[in-house]
Amino acid sequence: MIDLLLFNATNGLIIGAFYALMAIGLSLILNLSNVINFAHGGFLVIGAYLSYSLTPYLGFWGALIVAPFLTAAIGFLVERLLIRRVYGRDPLYSLLLTFGLAFIIEDGTRQIWGALGKPTSIPAFLSKPLSYQFFFITGYRLFMVAIVVLAIAVLFVLLRYTRAGIRVRAGTLDLETVAALGINIRTLRSLNFAIGIFLAGLAGVLASGQLGLEPTMGDGLLMPSFIAIIVGGVGSLNGTLLGGLMIGVAAGLTAVVFPSASDAIMYVIMAIVLLVRPRGLLGEEGMLT
C-alpha cells in the first residue's frame, strides 16, 4: 500500500509538473495581455508535431531544442497578426478568437499530419524502467521532469534578474505605468506571449515522447492548467507552479483510493480554495478587477 501511494504521488508530481509548465505559460500571457489563451493546448500540439517532423533530420535532441523555438516563433506571429487586435476590448473577443484558433490548429494538424495518432520513439537509454519495483518510472519520466524543472528555473531567473523580466512583472499589475516610463509595451507583450507559447511547445515535445501524437492531445492538459492558475492565484507564477504540482499530486493520490474521482478532485480543491481564499493561494490582490 505504501508502495502504491508513493508510486502514485510520484506519478502525480510528474503530471503536476506538466500542468505547471502549461499553466505558467498561460499565466504569463494572462498577466500581461489579459487574454485567456484557449489555443494554448493547440500550441502544445504544434510543438509535438513539429518535433515529430524534425526528428528524422535533427534527431531526438535537435528536435527537442528546435521545435519549441519554432512554436514560439509561430506564437509571436499569431500575437502580432491577431491577438493584439483584441487588447483592451471586451474579454469576449479574446475568448472567441483563441477558441477559434484552437479549432483551426486542431483541424490544421489533421490536414497536415493526418487524423490518426502517430507513434514516437525516444532514445533507448531513456525508455528503460529505472527500477523493477516501480515499473512505470522510466528514465524518460525523470528526464521530462528534469527538463520541466530546468525550463521553469530559467524562466524564473529571467523574470527576476533581467530588465525585461522585471518589466514583465511590473506590467502584471500596472502596464500603463510601464508604458509611461518609456517601455515599448507592444514589443514586451509580443515577447512575453512568445515565451508562454515556447513553454507550450516544450510541453508538447515532451508529452509526445510519453503519450504519442494526436491532434487532440492538448485538450486534456488545458483545463487542469486553468485550475492550477486559479488555485495558485492569478498574477503569481509561484502560485501557478504550486497549484499545478498540488492538483497533480492530489489526482495521483486520489487514484489510489477512489480512481473514478481522480479528475473530480481538482475541482474540489479549486472550490475549497475559492471559498477559503478567493484570490488563490499566492494571488496578488486586485488582479481580477
Partner: protein
Amino acid sequence: MTAALVAEGLHTYYGKSHILHGVGLEVAEGKITALLGRNGAGKTTTLRSLMGLTPPREGRVTIFGTDTVNWPTYRVAALGVGYVPEGRRIFPNLTVDENLKVPLERTGAWTSERIYQLFPRLAERKTNRGRQLSGGEQEMLSIGRALLLNPKLLILDEPSQGLAPLIVRDVFRIVAQMRSEGISVLLVEQNARVSLEIADYAYVIDDGAMVYSGPAKELAADEARVQSLAGVSVEEWTMS
C-alpha cells in the same frame, strides 16, 4: 524663450463625458510651470492627454518641437518626458531596486546610484517591496523612477497628495532642484500656495478650461484667487 511643451485646443473625453474644453498651455524650457485647480477641474486629464494615456479627440501637442498627438504613451515618454503619476503608481510587487530598473535607459547623468544619493531613504529600503513603503518614500521612488529615464521634461501629478507638510517641503525642494539641473517641469497641484513658491509661471484650470495664466509671483500676490484655489480649507502651512 523656447518651449519644452506646447498644447493647443485639447478636447478630451472619458467615454461620452466631455472633460477638457479646448485646453492650451505652454511649458517654458528650464522653468517650472504650475497647473493649479480644484479637485475635478481637469488637471489629471490634461496630463493624461499630454502623455497619450487618454488621447485628446482634438487639439495639438508639441513636445520639444515634435508633434506627438496620437503617439502611443511609450513613444512620448521616450522623447525624454518623465511622468510621476497621480497616486505615485509604484509597482507594489517589485522591490525599490527593481522599481528603478523598469524605466527605459536613456543616456544621461542619472543613474540609480545618483538616485540613492538624492534620496538616502530609498537606499536604506532597496530590498523592500513597493507596497511596504510609506507615502513619502513612494513619492521619492516615483520621482526617482521618472528621473532614471533622464528626462528633459518632468511632469508631476499632485506630488504633495497625502503627504505630511515636512515631507511636502522636501519633495518641493527636490522639484526646484530639478530646474537647476536644466529640467523643464510641469507641476500639477491642488496645493497652490506651496506650488507658487517654486513655480515660475502658473495656469489655473477650472471645469476643463484655463481660467488664468500669468507669472507665478503675480498669482501668489492675488490673495483672493489663491484662497479660492485652496477650496474650502485654507492651507495655513507654507514652504518657509
